[in-house]
């Protein structure tokens, strides 16, 4: 503390929000808005105690006037809470049951093979061994997500994995969950009944109304998939229950200017929310980028417009959530770790989630597996048959990913005002720049997240009561009415 300063300054990041207005964010995740002049006074140690910001800055732990050790203890506790995912260890275990797919989606990230290419199926023994490895994680949670290709094409491996997990869990007693990522076109009553009986959630894909959905989600033998999707969605809901089925969308050049229609379609079909997801630069999506892609600025602009539209719908009485905004707002407005592996520091790849390829090879993320399909096995962590758990999860691949995906020390991230809430994507960095740490200037990942953070913070700064009520209803998973009653 300097001789004149009536306070000790605690660490924080800052950045210009608009005009002369700055946003400050500290290690505890608290934020504050102030002008450049006030910010300079704060850093200089000359902000007077009578200043209108002073008490708030103290209560938010940007400065301390007494009991520095006690305050640091509090900030460290909050920091630890935000980083709790590190302590939890790997809990999401994705299994590629097959690379075969009956669809030929134009943006397929995994470059699926034809539905006759059986050599890309995971053998039941590999599925069981992968489940055994999953249960070695110290995490009290095990979520097994079946992916593909189209995983229902290898039903034997799926059922064997489910049975194996249930058997192991009799003694391990973990919180066990299953998710099946399926296009729904091949599900039968019998299969759906199995999913229901074993509590397997269904995650499917819907890109919008029929003309938009059928633009890219095509059957390999030809023709769109929308009608089949709708019929089987209903069947899946009838058998498994509405809440067991969720959907994801992919934004392409075909639906980017129709996102409101996509939202309306989700509402029409009874989905409680949407994750407005941009195109990822992998597999066919990368190969077809010229035809499917768009500048990231276009995506963030459309995202913001659609978010406003969704907020408006909520205010008009239609509860509906945008999930990406909800994740970011949860990080901004609450002290908790959200467990969203795509945006963690260090990256969640390999330490929160992991993927087992059809042949038992283990990768930190689906994108890393994709790279191996493209001929680059740089991120291969090991194999469930030839390597021990310690070798796989304590080996050099994961150590490098962790060391090079800590935004707190990455160039361009370390001083970024959003870094407390953000994360890194080392695989994407490597793909785009050849370097696991990557470069922030020019990064589409960074452009997208920064623009969306900025947009959310402008809304938080404006603090419109209605908008804030909607945000809180998303973050707390309560109705708007409940949120408003509590505010009385």
């Amino acid at each position: 503390m300097s001789a004149q300063a009536p306070y000790t300054l605690l660490p924080f990041q800052f950045g210009r929000l608009r005009g002369e207005e700055y946003l400050l964010v500290n290690e505890a995740g608290e934020y504050h808005f102030m002008t450049r002049n006030s910010l300079e006074s704060l850093v200089d140690g000359t902000l007077p105690a009578e200043n209108s910001h002073f008490d708030e800055l103290r209560s938010k732990q940007f400065l301390v006037t007494r009991d520095l050790a006690g305050t640091l203890d509090m900030v460290a506790t909050r920091y630890r809470t935000r980083k709790h995912f590190i302590i939890n260890s790997v809990s999401l275990h994705m299994m590629v049951l097959t690379v075969r797919c009956n669809q030929d989606c134009q943006y397929c990230q995994v470059s699926a093979e034809s539905d006759e290419a059986n050599q890309y199926d995971m053998a039941p023994e590999v599925a069981e061994k992968s489940v055994e490895v999953a249960f070695m994680s110290p995490s009290p949670f095990v979520k097994i997500e079946f992916q593909g290709g189209e995983p229902t094409l290898n039903w034997d491996a799926l059922t064997r994995a489910v049975h194996k997990a249930e058997e192991l869990n009799k003694s391990k007693k973990k919180v066990l969950e299953f998710v099946l990522c399926t296009n729904l076109t091949g599900v039968t009553t019998e299969k759906l009944e199995f999913l229901r009986d074993h509590g397997v959630c269904i995650s499917t894909s819907l890109d919008g109304p029929q003309p938009l959905h059928d633009k890219n989600r095509l059957l390999r033998k030809g023709g769109g998939t929308y009608d089949m999707f709708i019929a089987n969605l209903q069947k899946a809901r009838d058998i498994c229950g509405d809440r067991q089925v969720s959907a994801l969308m992919t934004t392409t050049v075909d639906n980017i200017n129709h996102l409101k229609e996509v939202v309306e379609e989700y509402i029409r079909l009874g989905f409680p929310g949407i994750f407005i997801r941009s195109l990822n630069p992998y597999g066919l999506a990368a190969e077809n980028a010229q035809d499917l892609g768009y500048p990231m600025e276009s995506f963030t602009k459309r995202y913001e417009e659609t978010l406003d539209y969704i907020v408006e719908l909520n205010l008009k009485g239609k509860p509906f959530t945008e999930y990406f905004a909800t994740i970011l707002l949860s990080r901004i407005l609450t002290p908790f770790s959200t467990g969203f592996v795509d945006l963690q520091s260090p990256s969640g790849a390999g330490i929160s989630s992991v993927i087992y390829d059809y042949n038992g090879d283990v990768y930190p993320a689906d994108e890393a597996r994709m790279l191996s399909r493209m001929g680059d096995k740089r991120f291969l962590m090991g194999n469930v048959f030839t390597d021990s758990y310690k070798d796989i999860f304590g080996g050099p691949v994961l150590r490098e990913i962790v060391a090079k995906s800590i935004v707190e020390i990455m160039p361009g991230c370390a001083s970024c005002v959003y870094r407390t809430y953000c994360g890194a994507d080392p695989i994407r960095n490597y793909l785009e720049t050849g370097d696991v740490m990557g470069r922030r200037p020019g990064s589409t990942f960074c452009k997208k997240n920064m623009a969306i953070f900025e947009s959310l913070f402008r809304k938080l700064r404006d603090a419109d009561d209605d908008v804030m009520d909607v945000f809180w209803s998303w973050v707390t998973r309560r109705s708007l009415q409940e949120v408003r009653r509590e505010g009385l």
């Binding site: 200089d44 640091l72 361009g412 200037p441």
Partner: protein, 111 residues
């Protein structure tokens, strides 16, 4: 003194060493490295930053002027960050250390 000289696809910027640290100049320049090749060197009382538009970047004079304005704004912010880090950097390290492996904070603060 700060000044900028434009010539073709190059902008040469002088950064007064009395006002700014080298780290501030590097950090501010880094933000533009997707659009420019950047050379930074010392010349008497100044750091000299030479921004050359990267191949394939068609940056007209207006864009380059805006980029250099942005560089100067970032320079101010980066210098302030250095000052902030000097004052709170040790505390930041203690927070992170204490979060994962509790330490005697009072003792550490007195040391």
């Amino acid at each position: 003194m700060q000044s900028v000289l434009f010539a073709g696809n190059t902008a040469t910027v002088l950064v007064d060493k009395a006002l700014y640290d080298k780290e501030a100049a590097i950090a501010a320049a880094y933000r533009l490295n997707d659009r420019y090749s950047i050379e930074l060197r010392e010349d008497g009382p100044n750091y000299v930053a030479i921004f050359t538009a990267r191949e394939g970047q068609h940056l007209d004079a207006t864009v380059m002027e805006a980029d250099m304005m942005s560089f100067f704004n970032d320079l101010l912010d980066e210098q302030l960050r250095i000052k902030l880090e000097q004052k709170s950097g040790k505390i930041r390290e203690l927070i992170v250390q204490h979060a994962f492996s509790p330490i005697d904070l009072k003792k550490e603060l007195e040391s």
